[in-house]
Each structure stands twice: as C-alpha cells, then as structure tokens.
C-alpha cells in the first residue's frame, strides 16, 4: 500500500497532465467557440499544476517507482520543469496564430499536453519499454498535430512523411532494444548495466543492438544521416506546430540518450562514442552548409537545428560528466533560442500570411526596431557570438570535447561555426540593411510581446551571467549520474 502511494506521488505531474488533457477534450464539446479561451487557460493551468507538483516533490536524490520502471531524479525534475516552461511559452506564442487559422480547438491543446506527457515519460523512464511508450506517445501526438490543419496539402504531406519515417525509426529502436534484452535478459536500465558489467557477452550482438538504438535516437534528435525528415516537416507544419516539434522534444530526446546510452550502456561507451562522433561531424557539416542555400526561414532553422544537434553530440561523445552537463546546457540554450526564433516568425505572421520566407524579415528594423533587436539577439546567439547564451553553449561543449582529446574535431567545429555564422548574418542583413517589402503593422497580444521580449532578452542576460543556468545543469547531472 505504501508503495502504491509513493508510486502515485512520484508520477503525480504526469497524472495531472493526462487528466487535464482528457478534461480539456471533454470540456471542448460543451464550450461555445467564443469561449474557447477557457481551454487555453486550462491548458496553461495544467502545466502550472504539474510544475507545482514536480517542484514541491523534488528531493536531491534518486527514487524509483512502479517496480523500478520509473525514476524520479534531479535530471528528470529539471528537464520536466524546462518542458513545462517551454510548452507554456509555445502556448502563449501560438494562440493568435492558431486562432487565425481555425485551429484554436481543444484538440490542439489536448494533443500538445499528451505530447508533454510523452516527453515526461521519456525523461523519467527507467525501463526500455517505458521509454519506448513515452516516445511513441510523443511521436503520435506530434504526427496528429502536424496534420491538424487538414485542408493544408503541405501539412498533410509533412505529417505523412513524418509518420512513415518516424515509425521506421521507432521500429529500429525497438529492434535494437530487443537485441540488448536478448543479451542481458532485462529491460530495466539498471539491470542491463549490471548484467553487462558482470560478465562477458557476445560483443557483436550488443553492437548490432547498439547500432539500431543509436539510429533510432539519431532520428528523434534529427542528426545526420537520419535528418531527411527535419526540413520537410519543419516547412510543412503550421508554424505553431513546428515550434513545438523543434523545441521541447529535444530535451526529452536528450534525456533518452542519457537513459539508454549513458545509464544503460556505459560499458559500450567506446563504441557509441565513435558513432556519435561521426554523426556529430556530419550533422555540423550538412546542417551548416545546406542552411546557406535556403530561402525559407523555417527550412533554414531546420538545418540550423541539425547543426545544433551536432554540437550537442560533441558534448555527449566526450562521455565525461562535464560533457553530459554541457550537452544539457546546450540543449536548454537551444530550446530558448528556438522558441524565441519561432516566436518572431509567429509574431510577423497574420491571417492569410505566413512570415516564413527569409525575405519577409526585410527591413524589420524600420518596421519595429525592438523586434528586430530581439531577432538580432536570437541570431547572434545561434551563431555563438558573445555576449549571448549561444556562445557559452558552444564554448562549453567544445571545452568538453577538447578535454576528451578531440583537438582537430574541435578545430573543425569552429571552422564550421564560421560557415554557420554566414546564414545567421544574412538574416540580420535582411532585417537591418534592406528596405521593408511589407508595411503591414505588427499586431500581437500583449502577453505574447512581453513573453517574447523576456525570452529573447534572457538569451542576452543569461549570456552575460550564465552561472545560474550552468549550476542548475551541474546540479541536475551530478546528483543523477553517480
């Protein structure tokens, strides 16, 4: 009895969000379209409630629930809080956009909340199947969200592509898991690790399983050579959904990598380090070089994401505590930058007009110097120019990689960062050096303006004082991985 009580308390945040998501679906049936704002408020409240429970039940130690399939450690709590924060910001940024496109319905919020639950389970899963279920819950919700604007042919195509490739990746991940299960006799992360430590296993089978697992993870992260879906899905989805796909799920994918590779298979570190290394280098090359050729802002950000993931992998492939801490720092910074970047796109969009071309940013400095300045910060942060957050993110992962002895890979990453700077500078060029092509006034609700301002300025402020965020990442990783 005591156990069940502990289990339920541990999973309280997940339970809150699931219940609220179902309640929202129900409530939506009885609400007049004019009162839909209630749904929005409920969705925000459910995130707030989950945040309250996550925060109030936090203890700086590791606790297992549901017979060891679910873990409540510091990393999980910190990442969950980031996920709530990010999702809440997405809700703020996207409200006007989805209202104008007739997507402001219960389904949007229910699906988004289900995807949040999926992410939370990925973050807290301590068993391969739990992790897999979390991943599928996230993915299925996202597939449906992409296709939510069902009369939009591009979105439907993107959803189809995302679903087919995503299902393939899930299959690969599952297949890899089955190999590991076959060799170790357990699906539990801690047991797998113990089994691998205790005695010799057939290395080739383990490697085969590992390859499939890494491939599945790479797909979810969007790392080369499993990146093909990223640009198409980013471009085809409604911008509000692109924002959801590109931001917070990366936190969950990061946690998945930590759970599977770092906690489950540290004995195979030498092998997965090499795989991650190749993917990191390829992601940085392909992401940065292909981004130069893009004319669509969302596609450009898609390739930019691929290159950012390459940098995250630089941290992970170092396979050191510092590497994991800095990879987490990078992912969190990436999420903040991406949210602000897409926030600006949503801000400039209006009914019947998607501000998703690079040229739509032309002359923004004359239309609205303040928003141009915010986007300037976002772009310099993505390029990794101090004094912005992006600089410390790159600086710290490169430091971890250098400490692990990858001198020439670091030099290479640095050279590619210069290539990357080019397309971010082009955005700034369009905003500051060109004349505006579009002189419609920028209309946005006050809450969105305020949150977007805070979001973008945070990139600058945390860039000047990165200590608190860094301490948080250090705290999360050192108390969870020991």
């Amino acid at each position: 009895m005591e156990n069940i009580r502990y289990d339920l308390i541990t999973a309280l945040p997940e339970i809150v969000i699931v219940c609220m998501a179902m309640f929202i679906l129900l409530a939506d049936l009885f609400l007049k379209p004019t009162n839909r704002i209630v749904i929005y408020i409920l969705a925000q409240l459910s995130l707030l409630g989950a945040a309250y429970f996550t925060f109030s039940t936090h203890v700086p130690s590791v606790g297992y629930a549901f017979t060891g399939t679910f873990v409540d450690d510091t990393m999980a709590d910190v990442l969950k809080l980031m996920i709530y924060l990010g999702t809440s910001m997405i809700f703020v940024y996207s409200r006007q956009y989805i209202q104008q496109r007739d997507m402001f319905r219960g389904e949007f919020y229910a699906l988004a909340l289900f995807s949040v639950v999926g992410m939370m389970i990925m973050v807290s899963g301590q068993n391969m199947l739990t992790l897999y279920v979390g991943l599928e819950l996230l993915s299925l919700s996202l597939y449906a969200l992409v296709a939510l604007d069902r009369d939009n042919a591009k979105a439907t195509e993107a959803a189809m592509k995302y679903f087919v490739l995503g299902a393939l990746a899930s299959g690969m991940l599952l297949y890899g898991m089955s190999m590991i299960y076959g060799m170790t006799g357990s699906l539990n992360i801690a047991d797998i690790n113990n089994a691998l430590m205790s005695g010799p296993k057939i290395h080739s089978v383990l490697i085969l399983g590992l390859v499939f697992i890494v491939s599945g993870l790479a797909f979810k992260l969007g790392a080369v050579p499993f990146q093909m879906w990223v640009p198409d899905v980013y471009e085809g989805s409604p911008t509000a959904v692109t924002m959801l796909i590109s931001s917070v799920p990366k936190l969950a994918a990061f946690a998945l990598v930590i759970r599977l590779l770092v906690q489950g298979l540290p004995t195979l570190a030498v092998d997965w380090q090499q795989m991650l290394m190749i993917m990191a280098v390829l992601s940085i090359i392909i992401g940065n070089i292909t981004a130069i050729a893009q004319t669509n802002l969302k596609r450009m950000l898609a390739y930019s994401t691929i290159s950012h993931i390459g940098f995250v992998l630089y941290g992970l492939m170092s396979a050191s505590m510092n590497g994991f801490i800095f990879a987490m720092f990078y992912v969190v910074s990436y999420v903040l930058m991406t949210l602000a970047g897409f926030g600006i796109i949503l801000l400039l969009s209006r009914k019947g007009f998607e501000a998703d071309k690079l040229d739509d940013l032309k002359g923004l400095n004359q239309r609205s110097p303040w928003h141009a300045f915010l986007m300037l910060i976002v772009m310099f942060s993505m390029a990794g120019v101090p004094p912005t957050l992006g600089f410390y993110a790159k600086f710290s992962v490169l430091q971890a990689a250098l400490a692990a002895g990858y001198l020439w890979l670091v030099v290479f990453a640095v050279l590619m960062a210069v290539v990357g700077a080019f397309y971010y500078l082009r955005v700034i060029k369009l905003m500051y050096f060109d004349e505006p092509a579009d002189n419609n006034p920028i209309v946005a609700p006050m809450d969105m303006r305020v949150v977007l301002g805070i979001n973008a300025l945070a990139l600058l402020v945390i860039g000047i004082m990165p200590e608190k965020l860094m301490e948080l990442c250090i705290y999360a990783m050192t108390t969870s991985l020991s």
Binding site: N365, P369, L376, F380, V385, P386, P387, F391, F395, S396, L398, Q399, L402, A403, L407, V410, V411, V414, L415, A417, V418, A421, F422, L425, R426, I428, K429, Y432, F433, P466, E467, M470, E471, I474
Partner: protein, 503 residues
C-alpha cells in the same frame, strides 16, 4: 562615492559608454535628432573624462598591471571579471575614448537616418573596445573582442556605401574565423592550467611545438585584425563601404586591438614560438610595408588609398614587435597611437569631401585648395604627417622602429625605410591631384569651406599630431617600464626544463 570610483575606474570606463549608448537608444525620438546628438555627445565626453584618471594616477615607474579590480564571474569555469591596465593599454584606452568623442561630433549633420542607433553603436563599441584593452581574463577579453564586432557589423551595414553588405559580412566572417581559433587556444590553455587568468598563462611553460600551435592560433586572430599581409583583404572593402565614423574607429582603434593583443597574448604566452617564428613575422611585415605601399600608389579611391596606407603603417608596428628590442617595441606603440590620430584625421578629411560631393574618387576632384583653403591646409598637414615628416607624430614611431631594426639587421631597416619614399609618393600624389591645379569641375567650384564643427575636430587632431611629434616624452614615459618588463619576460625561455625541445 569618490573612493568607490577610484577603485573601479576601469569598470566605469567600460560601462559608462555602454550605458550611455543604451540610454541614447531608449530615449531616442526620431523627430528630435538634436536631443539625441547632444545626449550622445554628453555620454561620449563623460566617458572620455572618466578615463583621464588612468593617465594622471598611473604609476609610470612601476609598470605592471595597475587599477586592478575583479570578482568571480563564472565559477564553473573559473572565469573572473578581472580588469587591469599597464603602460601599453592606458594610451590605447585614452585613444579609444577620445576617438569616440571625435566620431560623435563628426557625425553631427552627416547622419540623418536612425541617428540614435548610430550614436549608440559607437558608444557601446567604445566601451567594448576599452574592455578588450583592460581585460586580464581570457574569456572576458574574448567576450569584449567578439561583442565589439556586432556594432561594427551594423555600422558598416546600415550606414555604409553601395557595396556595404558584402563588405560587412566579409569583415565579420574574417574576424570571426580568426577569433574562434584563438578561443580553441584559450580552452587548451585552460585545460592545461585550470585558469583563464592571463598572468597564469605567462608562467606556464610549454614545449616548442605546442607553443607554435598556440602562437599560430593567436596569429590567426590578430593578424586578421591588424591586418597583416596576406589576410588584409577585408580592410580595404570595409573601409571603403563604412561611413566616415566607421572608418575612423576601424583605423584608429580596431586595428590596434590586434597589435595590442600580440603584446598581451601571442608573444608573452608563447615567447619561444615568437622568437622561432620571428623571421616569418618580419617577412610578412616587410611585405606589408613595401608591397602594400605600392598597391596604395595605384588606388583611384581615396578611402581605399588610406586603407592600404594603414596596412602599410601597421606593418611597421608588427616589425617593431618582432625585432625584440626596446626601441622597436616602443616605436611600435608610439606608431599605433600616432596612426590612431593621423588615420582618423585622414578619413575625416575624406569624409568632409564626401559629404559635399558624394564621391571618393580622386578624379572627381582637383583644385580643392582654391575653394576650401582652410580645409586644404589641414589636409596637407595630415598628409605630411602620414608620410612621416619630422615634427609630426608619424615621424617618431617610424624613426624609432627603423633605428631598432638597424640594430638587428641592416636590410630590415633598409626595406622598412622604403615606406618613407613610397608613403610620400602615394600620399602627396593624391594631395596634388585632389587639392592643387585648376578647379576641375562645378562640384569643386561650389564647395564651401569647413564649418565650425569640422574646423574644431581638425584643429584638435592637428594639435595632437603636432604635440606628439615634437614632444613624445609623456607617451614613451608611460610605456617605458612596461616595455622593459615585457622584453625581459620575452627573453626568458618557457620551454619545460629537462625535455628536449620539440617534444
């Protein structure tokens, strides 16, 4: 309060201009540009005034780092907010805050669109550059060094000429490439010493091959910034396209960031590599001095000509560094300061003409002296200074470097002195074509002479060039102790004891 100020003069020097820039941006009203201008001028002058105690309270005899202040900034990486200045940085800081005032005055009527952003860019840039000159923590230095690119990028891109986008992106990417390699070197040094303190790096001994790599990483950053041949190509483009103020800051200060950083980082951190590679460095400097001077000779665009002249003069600076003697090093520092005044003045002269005729081509002018006698007098004076006429500041630095070079190798001095001939040739030939002869066209005939504002900045700069040329003692006094300390540091090998070099 006063006590607090005296303990944090450097912080005030850095953050007052940055803060003024933000205030200008915040209060700006496009309909009342005059308020913005006065506010910016006020900020600029206040920022200049707070840097003056650095000169009056500096202990010349002692040398070393003074006015130090600091606190722990990012403990996770052991990064500190650590500031301090020595005899090399103080004159450059004063030069920076002074030049900012000149730039603000020079932009008064010229800049009509987005005045507040223009002024704010220069004020913020001034603070960041002072930060570069006073940071004693590698990452703090790096943050200032890179952050300074952002306002310069915007200045060239927003207020620049027709080809500004190409020029400004080239400027940014060139500099970024070099800087990132320097960052890798910093991370390497951090992993080896556990600290980002520059003074820790001075004590850290490394085998020669590591030193060479570190030196080359620094070289990538600083050679681009100075710029040295053959990575100078961004400079003529950036200068030509930049607005007058941008050119002035680029020439007067930004190039000095590179020269200063050689003395602060590359040479003392990797002294053996510096000695080992000094032959290459001297060769590159001599190529810059001679070859770039010849390139300057054939330019048709006045700004491009002055840009190439800057590269050639900066060749003197790097030559002075790498001959490793007192005269050369001090001469190089004098040359940096003097070039700051002269090149700023030259670019302002071109700006005066450009504002009236909207052409930088030499062939658009002729006989300007007839319609603008006062201006011509100043311009000819600055041209003379640029060629290194005795009695102007241009002479002192070059003469000292040549004297220093002759102690090392006669041929270095021989080649370096070519600049006196070529410099005179390209500068005076330009002066002749622009200012003398018949009035070339109706544009020139319609020219109005300097107004009060322009006269004021020309007169101030002319006075400074003259004073520094006749009586350079205050400047050399300031640098003397530091230069001696630096040279004695450079003379000590930092190779690990007991290991054969090369391992």
């Amino acid at each position: 309060m006063l006590n607090y100020f005296t303990q944090h003069i450097l912080s005030f020097s850095i953050w007052l201009p940055v803060f003024s820039g933000i205030v200008v941006l915040a209060i700006a009203n496009e309909n009342k540009p005059d308020t913005t201008r006065w506010l910016a001028l006020l900020g600029g002058i206040a920022s200049f005034l707070v840097t003056i105690p650095l000169y009056t309270h500096f202990n010349f005899a002692e040398g070393g780092f003074q006015f130090q202040e600091g606190f722990s900034w990012i403990p996770a990486f052991n990064i500190n907010y650590h500031l301090g200045v020595d005899g090399i940085s103080v004159p450059l800081i004063l030069l920076t805050s002074f030049t900012t005032v000149i730039v603000i005055i020079s932009a008064w009527e010229v800049i009509q669109k987005r005045v507040a952003q223009y002024m704010a860019c220069f004020l913020i840039m001034s603070g960041l550059m002072i930060g570069v000159f006073s940071a004693l923590d590698a990452i703090l230095y790096y943050v200032f060094w890179e952050a300074m690119l952002i306002p310069m990028f915007l200045v060239i891109g927003i207020w620049g000429g027709p080809n500004r986008v190409y020029a400004t992106i080239k400027f940014f990417l060139y500099t970024l490439l070099g800087s990132l390699l320097m960052l890798v070197a910093f991370i390497y040094l951090y992993l080896s010493t556990g600290s980002f303190e520059i003074t820790e790096y001075y004590k850290f001994s490394m085998p020669l091959n590591v030193q060479v790599l570190i030196f080359l990483a620094f070289f990538a950053a600083f050679a681009v910034k100075i710029p040295m041949w053959p990575v100078h190509t961004w400079l003529p483009d950036a200068h030509v396209e930049a607005p007058t103020g941008g050119s002035v800051v680029l020439a007067a200060i930004a190039l000095k960031l590179g020269g200063y950083s050689f003395l602060r980082f590359a040479m003392p951190i990797a002294p053996d590599a510096a000695h080992h590679l000094s032959g290459y460095m001297i060769t590159l400097s001599l190529i810059a001095i001679v070859y770039i001077a010849l390139v300057a000779l054939v330019q048709k665009d006045m700004k491009k000509l002055i840009a190439y002249s800057s590269i050639s003069h900066m060749g003197f600076v790097t030559l002075g560094f790498f001959i490793f003697n007192n005269l050369g090093l001090e001469g190089a520092i004098v040359q940096m300061v003097s070039h700051g005044f002269i090149s700023a003045a030259m670019f302002l002269c071109v700006g005066v003409l450009y504002d009236r005729v909207h052409s930088r081509q030499i062939e658009s002018y002729g006989g300007v002296a007839n319609t603008m006698p006062a201006f011509a007098a100043f311009a000819v004076f600055f041209a003379m200074a640029n060629t290194g006429l005795p009695g102007t500041s241009g002479f002192v630095g070059e003469f000292m470097v040549i004297l220093g070079a002759i102690q090392v190798n006669f041929w270095y001095a021989f080649l370096a002195s070519f600049t006196l001939i070529f410099g005179a040739a390209y500068t005076l030939w330009m002066v002749k074509r622009v200012f003398y002869g018949e009035i070339a066209n109706e544009n020139v005939a319609a020219l109005k002479d300097l107004n009060g504002r322009e006269f004021l900045i020309m007169a101030i700069l002319a006075a400074l060039v003259l004073v520094l040329g006749i009586y350079p003692q205050p400047l050399t006094d300031m640098t003397n102790a530091t230069v001696t300390q630096l040279l004695s540091h450079l003379a000590q090998s930092k190779l690990p004891v007991g290991l054969p070099s090369g391992l």
